[in-house]
Symmetry: C2
Subunit: 210 residues, 2 copies
């Protein structure tokens, strides 16, 4: 009769979502290796194997967690390019937003290292995110958000059109490389001031070379 029985109901109701939530929390604290079935079920107050009703195996749970992390990255990028001070000159404005996008990427990597590593730890069995997965509020993923900025740079005449094709590869590589070197790699222990310098140098490279 009571709406909420004293003990947990046998059927959880939204176990799948709850497990992904738990996985996201694990990933945030410890990275993708910590996304472990038993830890997720334990955190959800459910038995070891309950997860197998919703995920074929650990990789399938991890994949869902990775997608959430990629979305978190896209969301921060969207947020940071929505805000920046608008300049009367459209060329300056396009550069400011482009710069802000790169900063957002590295900001995410350094402030949420566990999520960042997880976003790119998609199990090898699954190739990449399907369309509509790992996206932000606009429905675009990090790669598409970058493409939109590059398109704008061409539109306002900030860069010549013939340099547009595949420019994503170049900009993305530079910013992604810095992020991983700072996160997992040999740069993980440099002081904060040096990090800022590294970010500046990398963004300068991209702006000058794109």
């Amino acid at each position: 009769m009571s709406v909420a029985p004293s003990s947990r109901p046998y059927h959880h109701g939204r176990l799948r979502e709850a497990l992904v939530d738990a996985g996201v929390a694990l990933a945030r604290a410890e990275g993708p290796e910590a996304v472990v079935l038993r830890a997720a079920t334990r955190a959800t107050g459910v038995s070891n194997n309950a997860a197998y009703r919703h995920f074929a195996d650990r990789d399938e749970l991890l994949r869902a967690v990775c997608e959430r992390c990629m979305s978190a990255l896209a969301l921060l990028m969207e947020k940071r390019i929505a805000a920046p001070p608008v300049d009367p000159d459209p060329v300056v404005d396009a550069w400011v937003r482009f710069d802000a996008l790169g900063r957002a990427y590295v900001e995410f990597a350094t402030t949420e290292p566990g999520w960042f590593r997880t976003a790119f730890a998609v199990p090898r069995t699954t190739h990449s995110f399907a369309p509509g997965e790992g996206v932000g509020a606009s429905g675009l993923g990090p790669y598409q958000l970058l493409g939109a900025r590059l398109d704008e740079l061409v539109e306002v005449g900030a860069i010549p059109a013939e340099r547009r094709p595949r420019a994503e590869y170049a900009a993305w590589s530079a910013v992604h490389g810095l992020s991983t070197l700072l996160n997992d790699g040999p740069l993980r222990d440099i002081p904060a001031a040096e990090r800022d310098q590294a970010l500046r140098v990398v963004l300068d490279l991209v702006a000058r070379g794109i």
Copy 2:
């Protein structure tokens, strides 16, 4: 009496080296996660726990394997800059070697993905390689090899001296980012021709922006 007893001698003789060799083989085939104590001891024909006489724990073995992988990267980079056709113009020559270094880095990542991932999978407990570790024949690591190329670019006047400080961060990030995106990341399934285009675009970015 006989020099070589029929069954394996109780004392292996060079077990530590043999275990690292086994770990390197595992890393090559499957990446750092596959560097597993029991697999290494099994491959060496020795019991589970024999490794604990030479390594405090799995991380210590993995660290030794990572160092070997980093050395392999350094060795390929050395090899590729030793060979390139020498141009009479020292400026052209410096650019050719610089370009060859970047290509070698990405070549290593794509031809030996397991080793590449392992080289940067140094356990979090150890911060980075001590001096003299992870180096090539010249005694320099990948980072130092890059620095030497940048120094040369300045010396021959190919780039102004005021752009030299921290230029490693920029060049390294671009090439490392491409390597990881091609290896683990969303670019891992693009066709070979597209890979080449991506490499060209990234190297152009670095050459123009450095």
